[in-house]
C-alpha cells in the first residue's frame, strides 16, 4: 500500500474563538447592561423613602409569614378552594393524558408515517408555544370566564405537552423491533399494548406526574384569571382586593404544603419504578 504524504493542516492566519453563538450572547448581554444602566439613572424615585419603604416591607412580610390567618374567609372555604385547585389539576392531567396517549401514537416516528408524525408534532409545538393562561383566556372568550374555560384551557396545553413527552417515550422502542413483531403477524394494538407500553410505563407515569405538578400550579394561576373559585381566586382577592396579608400568608403556606406532598409522592413513585426495572 502506498503511503500518501499528508500536507500539514493550515490554520487561518487569525484564529478567532469568538464563534457566532458567543458573539450573539455578548451582544445581548451588552445590550441588557446598557438598558439597565439607563433605567437606573432615569428612575423616578420621587416620593420613595427607602427607610420607611423597607420597614413596611418588613412589616408586610411579618404579617404574611409570621401571622398567617384566614382573613374574612373561613378555613373550610379556603380548604375547599384548595381541593378545587387540586381537582382542577388532577382532572386536566387525566383528560390530557387520555387524549395525549392516542395522539402520541400518531406522532411517534416508529409507529406512524413520517408526514403524520411531523404534522402532529408541529401542531403540538404551536399549542405549547402559547402559555396555558392564554389558552384559558382564549377559551373563556368562547365559553365565558369560569371553571369550564379553565378545564378546557389547561387540558389543551396538557395534551400538547404530554404528546411530546409520550411520543418521545414511544420512540425509545426502535422501529426494527416493532417490525420484527409485524413480521410474525402481530396486529397493531397488541404491539402497542404488549410490546411498547410495558417497556415505557415508568416514563409515562413520570411525565404524567410532572404534568400534574405543573397543572396544579397552573390551576392556581388560572383560577385567579378565570374566576374558577379555586384557591388562586382567593389568593388574588386577598392580595389585590382586600389587602389582607394574613390570608395571603396562609394561602402561600397551604400551597407550599401541597407542593411538598406532591414532591414526596413523586419521589416515591420514581423509586418504586426504578426498583422494578
Amino acid at each position: 500500500m502506498k503511503t500518501v504524504k499528508q500536507a500539514p493542516i493550515s490554520l487561518p492566519p487569525k484564529l478567532s474563538l469568538l464563534t457566532r453563538p458567543r458573539r450573539i450572547l455578548r451582544t445581548v448581554l451588552g445590550g441588557l447592561t446598557l438598558i439597565t444602566l439607563y433605567a437606573l439613572l432615569t428612575l423616578n424615585t420621587a416620593g420613595l423613602k427607602i427607610s420607611s419603604a423597607m420597614s413596611s416591607l418588613g412589616n408586610n412580610l411579618n404579617i404574611m409569614f409570621l401571622h398567617p390567618g384566614v382573613g374574612q374567609d373561613t378555613w373550610s372555604l379556603l380548604l375547599r378552594a384548595l381541593v378545587t385547585s387540586i381537582s382542577l389539576g388532577l382532572l386536566t392531567t387525566i383528560l390530557g393524558a387520555l387524549f395525549a396517549f392516542f395522539i402520541a401514537m400518531g406522532a411517534a416516528r416508529n409507529l406512524a408515517p413520517a408526514w403524520l408524525a411531523n404534522t402532529i408534532k408541529a401542531a403540538m409545538a404551536f399549542i405549547r408555544a402559547i402559555p396555558t393562561i392564554l389558552w384559558v383566556l382564549i377559551y373563556s372568550v368562547v365559553m365565558g370566564l369560569g371553571a369550564s374555560a379553565a378545564v378546557v384551557g389547561l387540558t389543551f396545553h396538557s395534551i400538547a405537552y404530554l404528546v411530546k413527552a409520550y411520543s418521545e417515550s414511544i420512540e425509545a422502542t426502535p422501529a426494527e423491533t416493532i417490525e420484527a413483531l409485524k413480521a410474525s403477524g402481530v396486529r397493531f394494538w397488541p404491539i402497542v399494548f404488549q410490546a411498547i407500553l410495558p417497556s415505557i410505563i415508568p416514563a409515562l407515569l413520570s411525565w404524567t406526574f410532572i404534568r400534574f405538578e405543573i397543572n396544579f400550579a397552573n390551576a392556581v394561576a388560572v383560577g385567579a384569571a378565570a374566576g374558577a373559585n379555586d384557591i388562586g381566586y382567593y389568593l388574588f382577592m386577598a392580595s389585590g382586593f382586600y389587602f389582607n396579608f394574613h390570608e395571603v400568608g396562609l394561602i402561600v403556606y397551604l400551597l407550599l404544603a401541597v407542593a411538598v406532598v406532591l414532591e414526596i409522592i413523586s419521589i416515591q413513585l420514581r423509586g418504586h419504578y426504578l426498583k422494578q426495572n
Binding site: 422502542t173 426502535p174 426494527e176 423491533t177 417490525e179 420484527a180 413483531l181 409485524k182 413480521a183 410474525s184 403477524g185 402481530v186 396486529r187 394494538w189 397488541p190 404491539i191 402497542v192 399494548f193 404488549q194 410490546a195 411498547i196 410495558p198 417497556s199 415505557i200 426495572n277
Partner: protein, 255 residues
C-alpha cells in the same frame, strides 16, 4: 418447501436489486444465501415474508403464493415464519420470557393480544424453549442486560414460539463472537433436522456457510450465480459469487 421463482425488485429506476431470482429451500435443511455486501441478500429475505413489496415473480411456501395473499392471509402466513435479526430486535426492557411469549401474539385476536392473555400451556412452552436454548436461568432477566449471544438465543426461542414452518435469519451472527456464533449455528442446524424446519439464512461469512449449510445459494449483483450443495462450490463458482463489478482481479473475500 419454499420456492422462489423469477423474483424482481428495484428500489428505484437506476438499478434493479433483484433480477429473476429463483431458488428452492427444503424443510430439514439449512439453506444459506451468500454473496458480497449489497448483492441483494437482505432484499430476498425481506421479500419472502413481504416486509418488502417486490415487483414480480412468485414466492410459494408449501404451494401458497405469499405475494397473492390478502391482508389477513398474509398475517396468518407470517405467523408461521419466524425471523431473527443481526440486532436481535427484542424489546429490551422486557424479560426474556415476555419476549419469547411475543411469538404467540400473532395467533391471537386483537383483544386477547392487547391484554396479553397467555394460557398456562403457552407460558410453560416459553419457559421450556428458553431451557432448550440454554437460558433457563435468565427467563426473568431484562433482555437488554443479556449478552449478544444470549439475546440471539432469546430471538430463536421467540421464533420457535410461533410454531414456524420456516425461520428467516438475516446475518444472525454478524455481531457475535466465535463462541456464540457456534452456539447459535449449532442450534439452528439442530432445529432444521429435529423439527423439519426450512432455515433460510443470509451469511457473509463463507466459512460458516460451508460448515453449516446443506444447500447454498450464491448471489452477485441481484443475480443468482450458484445454487447447489456445499460440495459443489468450486473455486470458480466462488469467484463468480464474490466477483466485484468495478475493480477486476480481487480475490474472493468472505468478509
Amino acid at each position: 418447501m419454499l420456492k422462489v421463482i423469477d423474483l424482481d425488485k428495484s428500489y428505484n429506476r437506476q438499478k434493479q436489486s433483484l433480477k429473476a431470482v429463483s431458488f428452492t429451500a427444503k424443510p430439514g435443511e439449512v439453506t444459506a444465501i451468500i454473496g458480497p455486501s449489497g448483492a441483494g441478500k437482505t432484499t430476498i429475505l425481506r421479500s419472502v415474508n413481504q416486509l418488502i413489496k417486490d415487483d414480480a415473480g412468485q414466492i410459494l411456501l408449501d404451494d401458497e403464493d405469499i405475494r397473492q395473499a390478502n391482508k389477513s392471509d398474509l398475517r396468518r402466513i407470517r405467523h408461521h415464519i419466524g425471523m431473527i435479526f443481526q440486532n436481535y430486535n427484542l424489546i429490551g426492557p422486557l424479560t426474556a420470557l415476555e419476549n419469547v411469549l411475543h411469538g404467540r401474539l400473532g395467533a391471537k385476536s386483537t383483544f386477547a393480544g392487547m391484554l396479553g392473555l397467555y394460557s398456562a400451556t403457552e407460558k410453560n412452552e416459553a419457559a421450556k424453549l428458553l431451557q432448550d436454548v440454554g437460558l433457563a436461568d435468565f427467563a426473568l432477566q431484562r433482555c437488554d442486560q443479556l449478552s449478544g449471544g444470549q439475546q440471539q438465543r432469546v430471538g430463536i426461542a421467540r421464533a420457535l414460539m410461533q410454531h414456524p414452518k420456516m425461520i428467516l435469519c438475516d446475518e444472525p451472527i454478524a455481531s457475535l463472537d466465535p463462541k456464540s456464533t457456534k452456539l447459535v449455528m449449532d442450534i439452528l442446524r439442530e432445529l432444521a433436522q429435529s423439527k423439519q424446519l426450512i432455515i433460510l439464512i443470509n451469511l457473509h461469512q463463507l466459512d460458516i456457510a460451508q460448515t453449516y449449510a446443506d444447500h447454498i445459494v450464491g448471489i452477485n449483483q441481484g443475480t443468482i450465480v450458484f445454487e447447489g450443495p456445499e460440495r459443489a462450490l468450486t473455486p470458480e463458482k466462488l469467484q463468480a459469487i464474490y466477483r466485484q463489478p468495478e475493480t477486476k482481479a480481487v480475490t474472493a473475500d468472505a468478509n
